[in-house]
């Protein structure tokens, strides 16, 4: 552990100079002979909100999985706030302020909404192995209640997650990503399957995030994506195809052709 700690402190110093929240260099992920993503180089400033667009199979979710450490990239380096986390397990990256939501909700169906959020808060704080139940007035319980309120779910705090509607599960996904002190969040299609009202609520939650929290959002719904993002990365066949402001991307003839040609228009 001491080895890790010394490395951590020296890396923290390095992060001051580099200044990017997230930096990918030449990240490639092979599944057998197939490159799901290839030579991705990408950097995102702290507080920047970036949308990643692309058709199905463009490698967007694989990119997220590599960034969070759900699986390790075949080659390339990933730096989180200047620190090289390429070989860190997922939980170490999360403890450094990275968060993510999943495209298909990955929640604990057998636990209540409060329990789910409480676990998320506990995961990024001390006492993960505590055998003592939290007392009334435990700061984490307060924080849990606040998060549930932030995603408008106070009424269903004691409901089993498996009994929630689809839209509520999506909201809960976001609450889990906001637990602790997030510094950078990856949203994987948070609006998929939501009703127009729920979409509006989602946009409000995303635009209402504190300005120091940057995020990357994968979203098929251009309305949502372009309203919350200040920069856009287009992916195609596992590679970065275009980068630019939302206006540039929207008006780019190549992008239009790609998107319309794929039947997404």
């Amino acid at each position: 552990m001491t080895l890790l700690d010394t490395r951590r402190s020296s890396e923290t110093l390095a992060s001051v100079s580099s200044g990017n929240a997230l930096e990918l260099r030449g990240v490639t992920k092979m599944f057998g002979a197939l490159a799901a993503i290839e030579d991705i180089t990408l950097s995102v400033r702290p507080g920047e909100r970036r949308a990643v667009l692309g058709s199905n199979g463009a490698g967007k979710t694989t990119l997220f999985n590599c960034i969070t450490g759900d699986f390790l990239p075949t080659s390339g380096t990933i730096r989180l706030f200047g620190e090289d986390v390429s070989n860190f397990p997922a939980y170490e990256r999360i403890r450094r302020g990275l968060r993510r939501t999943y495209q298909i909700s990955l929640l604990f169906g057998g636990l209540t909404v409060s329990d789910n959020v409480y676990l998320a808060c506990r995961g990024v704080s001390r006492g993960r192995f505590s055998l003592l139940r939290p007392r009334r007035g435990d700061p984490l319980l307060t924080r849990t209640a606040e998060l549930i309120e932030a995603v408008h779910m106070t009424a269903s705090g004691d409901t089993l997650v498996s009994e929630l509607s689809y839209g509520q599960q999506r909201q809960l996904e976001i609450a889990l990503a906001l637990a602790g002190a997030p510094r950078f969040i990856l949203f994987d299609e948070p609006a998929a399957g939501l009703s127009p009202t729920e979409r509006a609520e989602l946009v409000a939650i995303l635009t209402g995030l504190p300005s120091h929290i940057g995020f990357i959002i994968i979203e098929h719904d251009m309305d949502v994506a372009l309203r919350v993002a200040e920069s856009v990365t287009m992916m195609h066949n596992g590679r970065i195809f275009k980068e630019g402001t939302p206006e540039e991307i929207e008006n780019d003839p190549e992008v239009q052709e790609l998107y319309l040609g794929d039947g997404h228009g």
């Binding site: 969070t68 450490g69 759900d70 397990p89 997922a90 939980y91 999360i94 403890r95 993510r100 999943y102 990955l106 929640l107 604990f108 169906g109 057998g110 636990l111 209540t112 409060s114 329990d115 409480y118 676990l119 998320a120 506990r122 995961g123 990024v124 006492g127 993960r128 192995f129 505590s130 055998l131 003592l132 139940r133 939290p134 007392r135 009334r136 435990d138 319980l141 004691d158 089993l160 009994e163 889990l176 637990a179 602790g180």
Partner: protein, 348 residues
């Protein structure tokens, strides 16, 4: 789905949340010695509580952690062996005659260390492979104790291992032993119930439901699983200490493969979803084992065939109710309309 008490999960008005049936069961358990004879106290209830504790350690791993471990009986037996080796037994050449306040902690620590080590090997595997690797280590433990004479005294093991005479009580007399095992069983049951709602227990259930998501919430999934083995092994170790006192002896057969499988059968028959399940399973097992030889000989069959009855019972339970007798009971209650509302889960 292991969390039954859903409302006010973190608050401590615990006395009000205990159903009346539990108070009655507790009272009956306390005054039991007034009604039944020593044989029932010692041979039926003593065994029920001891086997129940060892099966409870399996329930903790399987029910809350999703890990089916076959090593719990070996962990218990190692605890028992340590009591014989560091305490007093008929094998004076090996036993060290240490006082009880020294050999009990040693036994628990050694057994828990062993369980943790096995856990560290087993948690890297899933499902059937966890069962296979723990079964392999359990058989290795059996053969090792049978062939090692320097420490484990080989085939014959240790005899005359009895509890210390504390407070002037002979704890191996039926009534004291009944209360001793009852007390330990209740304590270990309460410990499991309490820990299941602690941060560690909640996280363990999260790991069971969705290990990938737990890692994405900042939890070290592997470390959590190993720690679950440690906790379960402490309970198994106490069960093993009581087991060696109950038998007054320990030998390789205590943790032989049939005994290892028995613990699995007890936990599954009782139900691994709730901590009371293993004790129900242990009671059924012990009653069958104690009385079926009489019934079988009544039908002109060999008395040793009681395992046939247990096996048939096991088949029936697995076939009709994968969550054990407890699951049968819950479904029966639900059908009577007195159970929980299937939509909201609220008690009606």
């Amino acid at each position: 789905m292991a969390l039954v008490e859903r409302s006010t999960p973190y608050q401590s008005s615990w006395a009000e949340r205990i159903p009346t049936a539990w108070w009655i069961a507790g009272l009956v358990a306390l005054i039991m010695p007034a009604f039944v004879n020593d044989f029932i106290l010692f041979q039926v209830f003593g065994w029920t509580f001891v086997l129940g504790m060892i099966a409870l350690s399996l329930m903790f791993l399987a029910g809350y952690g999703g890990m089916v471990s076959l090593i719990q009986m070996s962990v218990a037996a190692l605890g028992g062996y340590m009591v014989a080796i560091f305490g007093t037994s008929g094998v004076a050449a090996i036993s060290m005659d240490l006082p009880w306040w020294l050999y009990i902690p040693i036994a628990v620590i050694v057994a828990a260390a062993f369980g943790t080590l096995v856990g560290a090997l087993a948690v890297r595997t899933e499902g059937i492979y966890t069962i296979m690797i723990t079964l392999a280590i359990a058989s290795a433990f059996f053969y090792f104790t049978r062939q090692n004479y320097g420490i484990f005294n080989g085939y014959s093991g240790f005899n005359l291992v009895v509890p210390p005479h504390l407070f002037g009580v002979d704890w191996r007399q039926p009534m004291p032993f009944y209360y001793l095992t009852l007390g330990c069983a209740v304590l270990s049951y309460l410990a499991v119930v309490y820990v299941s709602r602690s941060p560690f227990g909640l996280a363990l259930q999260g790991v069971r439901d969705n290990p990938r998501r737990m890692a994405a919430l900042g939890f070290n999934v592997t470390a959590h699983r190993i720690a679950a083995y440690t906790f379960a092994s402490v309970i198994a170790a106490f069960g093993g200490i009581l087991l060696v006192w109950q038998n007054a002896q320990i030998s390789p057969g205590t943790a032989g493969i049939p005994a290892v499988i028995d613990i699995l059968v007890i936990a599954v028959v009782g139900g691994v979803r709730r901590p009371i399940g293993p004790f129900i399973g242990a009671l059924i097992y012990t009653v069958l084992r104690t009385f079926s030889p009489d019934i079988l000989t009544g039908f002109g069959l060999s008395g040793e065939r009681f395992k046939l009855l247990i096996g048939l019972g096991f088949l029936a339970v697995v076939f009709f109710s994968p969550d054990g007798v407890l699951g049968l009971w819950e479904r029966w209650r639900a059908r009577k309309g007195r159970g929980r509302d299937p939509l909201t889960g609220e008690a009606k």
